[in-house]
């Protein structure tokens, strides 16, 4: 009886896991479904009390609620609906060049907590020489409101209703603008249950017009005349960037979008009113139907007017630590990690051991995360930009992980013969009960978690990866502690243990069911591998994985010493083959287009060579670049890859000299400081010793060609 119930439970849990994985996959492959863009309908006035409604010149304003009543402990959406006349508009949070965002101040004599305004996707509205961001036609600005468990009844009226007041201000514009103010209020009954209100449909429609709840992280660089933004994971569509700050970019200018495989880069001319100082920026990417908010941090080491260290305040560090901690907690639930940890939890029997025994798992996790942090810091010091999961860019690592996950799945399925040594290793890794085994589980858990990212983690790690090394360590440790907490609590506390279901035959079934999320992870790893190495190499990897399973099976069945040796060799060979393939690149499909720079003959930057070339009356084009510099990438994609520029650079007596500042060095720093720059890109064209031109930081093919032409004439 008990066992069947637990079987059902475990089956349900594993199918939930598979479902969540499927959803994750689906959302990775398909973009958010297109939104309905139908306009909001004007509410029927007869359903309104007079105070709930106001009119101003060219606009009507309504105070709306999504549910009929306020239920203690639940939430409700409230909103202000703006209905301007045809051709008149209201504004987004950043109104653009002129105009003003609407404001809503809520007043209520109860501890209701009002969220921020959820702004629907705005439109860029050109007004003569300016551009405004806002809404033509009706739009509902809604907020989510949490209702406390306990409502102070003395503040309600005779009908048990609570009065909610909103002080609203707005600006409605065509070409001329008219500001307006109104104090709107309504009485909502407090009750134990509620139904959708007559206006709930307006709220539902508005929700389809909001940006995605998924917040992306991005980077930006500030150049002399533009701001360059970079966002990963955008499909190739006509995106438009809407900055939160109104003084950042020239709103009326064309935004240039450059798509490449790894990122989308957006170049927008800088606003005259931007002082060039920003460590972090928020913006919205919208294609009119769907949108994403982006949290951007400045690209460390890149060109900026002032090379200020990106120092985080103590409170910011604390917030990011909390985010990392929460991310670590949630990471426990990810499909790659949960099976291993559940087995571990199930296998816990006694809590009589010493403290070091109990904390061995925590130490394993801390050790592994600190190792990750150390590798990242070391790579950063050598000038590389790496992130969480950076090792996934290495096909050999992907192969090893695929075998590891297959092995874990086989262990979970009890497919390893009990007597075999592999089985012992496998099961003690996961369910052994010695300090060493706990430490190993901790390490293993971090390794299997490394391909996954949990909510909150991305932002915190994004900061960790661009900050001072000690902040990187602080954030990784916060993440580690969050990650280790659930299982460590089980180790430490009998009370927590008592919440676990009692052991029984159901555990076997549960364990078997957990093998499937593991297999799903293997499928994903194979897909990643295919992206790196091509379909042929992926086929080889799949065959090797099957051979690996077969040899393990044979190993369990062989009784003779020879058979064991042969089959062990088979296991090792099946792992070695795809690693060899990925290290040597055999079967790998070349990614087509060769890089612009590698095909262009260039001279490595060197002060002496430069001096010599100038003394020889040569034209020298100096390009100071770095692998991590977004603006440099944009220029290489746009200007230096054009045929005309390449032809111009290949002319006689034109020399193309490239300085690579990826691993910062003093010689280049000295050169940069001659031009009062703290970072790259820097482009200088010399006409021997006669003349020199410093090119803008954002190039077009024509800028380069004309500058070379000019230099040749100067000679």
């Amino acid at each position: 009886m008990l066992s069947t119930r637990f079987f059902k439970l475990s089956a349900a849990i594993s199918s939930l896991l598979m479902l969540s994985l499927l959803f994750a996959l689906l959302s990775a492959f398909t973009s958010v479904s297109a939104h309905a863009t139908e306009s909001l309908e004007r509410p029927d006035l007869s359903s309104f009390a007079a105070q709930q409604y106001a009119t101003g010149p060219h606009i009507e304003v309504f105070l709306l609620h999504s549910k009929t009543t306020l239920v203690p402990g639940e939430n409700i959406e409230l909103g202000v609906l703006f209905m301007p006349e045809a051709q008149w508009h209201t504004y987004w949070r950043n109104p653009g060049d002129s105009g003003e965002a609407p404001t809503i101040k809520w007043q209520v004599e109860q501890a209701l907590s009002f969220g921020d305004i959820q702004w629907p996707l705005p439109k860029a509205i050109p007004i003569a020489h300016l551009v405004n961001y806002g809404y033509e036609g009706a739009n509902l600005l809604m907020v989510e409101v949490d209702i406390p468990e306990v409502i102070d009844r003395s503040m309600l009226n005779d009908k048990q209703e609570l009065k909610i007041t909103a002080d609203v201000s707005w600006l409605v514009c065509k070409e001329d603008c008219i500001p307006g103010w109104a104090t709107l209020s309504m009485h909502l009954p407090v009750a134990q249950s509620s139904e959708p209100s007559v206006h709930s449909e307006l709220f539902e429609k508005t929700k389809t017009l909001l940006p995605s709840s998924q917040i992306k992280s991005g980077l930006f660089e500030i150049t002399d005349n533009a701001v360059v933004f970079e966002v990963n994971g955008l499909s190739e569509q006509q995106w438009k960037l809407f900055p939160f700050r109104s003084d950042l970019v020239n709103h009326a200018s064309t935004q240039n979008l450059i798509y490449s495989e790894d990122a989308t880069r957006i170049i927008v001319p800088r606003s005259d009113y931007f002082n060039g100082k920003a460590q972090s920026l928020g913006w919205l990417m919208s294609d009119g139907k769907q949108g994403f908010y982006v949290n951007g941090v400045i690209n460390a080491g890149a060109a900026s007017d002032e090379a200020e260290a990106s120092a985080l305040s103590a409170s910011q560090v604390l917030v990011f630590m909390l985010m990392a901690f929460a991310g670590g907690l949630i990471l426990n639930l990810m499909p790659c990690v949960l099976p291993i940890l559940s087995i571990k939890a199930m296998a816990l029997h006694s809590t009589q051991q010493g403290l070091s025994h109990k904390l061995a798992y925590l130490f394993g996790v801390l050790f592994c995360f600190n190792l990750f942090a150390a590798i990242i810091v070391i790579l950063q010091q050598s000038g590389q930009q790496v992130g969480w999961g950076f090792h996934m860019q290495e096909p050999a690592v992907v192969v090893v992980l695929a075998f590891l996950f297959t092995l874990i799945a086989l262990v979970l399925l009890d497919a390893l013969a009990v007597s075999s040594r592999l089985s012992n290793v496998g099961s003690s890794l996961v369910s052994g009960d010695s300090p060493g085994a706990h430490f190993a589980t901790g390490t293993l858990a971090v390794i299997v978690a490394s391909p996954c990212t949990a909510p909150f983690m991305a932002a915190a790690l994004g900061v960790a990866l661009v900050s001072e090394p000690y902040i990187t360590f602080v954030l990784f440790n916060a993440l580690a502690i969050g990650f280790a907490l659930p299982l460590t609590l089980l180790f430490l506390s009998k009370k927590a243990m008592s919440y676990l279901p009692k052991p029984g035959p159901w555990m076997e079934t549960f364990k078997h069911a957990l093998a499937f999320p593991m297999f799903a992870t293997v499928a994903w790893l194979c897909w990643v591998f295919a992206g790196q190495m091509g379909a042929q190499a992926q086929f080889a990897l799949l065959l090797a994985l099957i051979l690996f399973c077969m040899f393990i099976w044979l190993l369990g069945r062989s009784s003779s010493g020879l058979g064991k040796t042969v089959n062990s060799a088979g296991v090792l060979a099946s792992i070695a083959l795809p690693i060899w393939l990925s290290v040597t690149g055999t079967l790998a499909v070349s990614n087509g287009a060769a890089s612009a720079n590698s095909a262009l003959p260039f001279v490595e930057f060197n002060q002496n060579t430069l001096k010599q070339l100038r003394d020889d009356n040569q034209v020298v084009v100096v390009n100071m670049t770095a692998d991590w510099c977004i603006t440099c990438k944009v220029n290489e994609q746009v200007a230096f890859s054009s045929d005309e520029v390449r032809a111009a650079l290949k002319q006689n007596n034109v020399n193309y000299m490239v300085g690579d500042w990826t691993n910062k060095n003093d010689e280049i720093l000295q050169y940069l400081s001659q031009y009062e720059r703290a970072g790259v890109p820097l482009y200088v064209i010399y006409a021997g010793n006669k003349n020199k031109q410093v090119l803008p930081q954002i190039l077009t093919p024509n800028t380069v060609i004309n500058a070379i032409k000019q230099a040749k004439e100067d000679l």
């Binding site: 020489h129 500001p179 490449s260 009113y273 290290v583 990438k633």
Partner: protein, 209 residues
């Protein structure tokens, strides 16, 4: 170092390059601490007035449109007139400039302009007409109000909003930092302007095109 190589590869593999054209910026760039663009305009008395007439004096430029709610905010509250009185008394030149094209909001005849000055108790040194919008665009003036301070050497010292709170509500005036007042007092006491460029706010200027 194959991590690095694979990163390089992914960086350099182009999927597509979309329309890349550097858009010429619509208007000239405002540059503080650089010479202010010179101009000659006709005032509401029909006389010709040039910026160069005021060499050796501080000059404040105010772009205006009497029908704009943001301009009304500062005139109905006497905030703008207060600034005009305070600084013209200290030998500062105050030029109110109207760049509204004929037929557009804020366009007025010379008589109407003089009548507005009287009825609003305003005391600008001159009210100037820039109906073609040439001077407004030279200064990259975007909104009404949009304020500029030029020093006795003819250098632009401030460009931007009148104060720090973007609203049409007169109740916000006492709460806001008045950038023109702060900048001007600092300059007159021999100091530097702390905020030289701020985003202007208000109605868009009703240029001819």
């Amino acid at each position: 170092m194959s991590i690095r190589t694979s990163m390089k590869q992914s960086f350099k593999t182009l999927v597509g390059v979309l329309a890349f054209t550097l858009a010429a910026s619509v208007s000239a760039k405002v540059e503080v601490d650089a010479p202010a663009p010179g101009f000659t305009l006709t005032n509401s008395m029909g006389e010709s007035v040039s910026l160069s007439d005021f060499q050796g004096q501080y000059v404040i430029l105010e772009w205006t449109n009497h029908l704009c709610p943001y301009v009304k905010k500062h005139y109905d509250s006497d905030n703008m007139q207060m600034l005009q009185r305070k600084y013209t008394e200290q030998d500062v030149v105050w030029l109110s400039i109207i760049s509204s094209a004929e037929g557009k909001q804020g366009y007025v005849s010379a008589d109407e302009a003089n009548e507005l000055t009287t009825s609003r108790n305003a005391v600008p040194t001159h009210v100037l007409f820039d109906t073609s919008g040439v001077v407004g665009k030279q200064y990259s003036a975007k909104t009404t109000p949009h304020m500029y301070i030029i020093d006795p050497a003819g250098e632009l010292k401030y460009a931007g909003g009148i104060d720090s709170i973007k609203s049409a509500n007169p109740a916000d005036i006492p709460k806001a930092d008045n950038y023109v007042d702060m900048g001007m007092s600092s300059l007159l006491s021999g100091g530097e302007v702390e905020k030289k460029l701020t985003p202007p706010y208000g109605c868009s200027i009703k240029y001819q095109s």
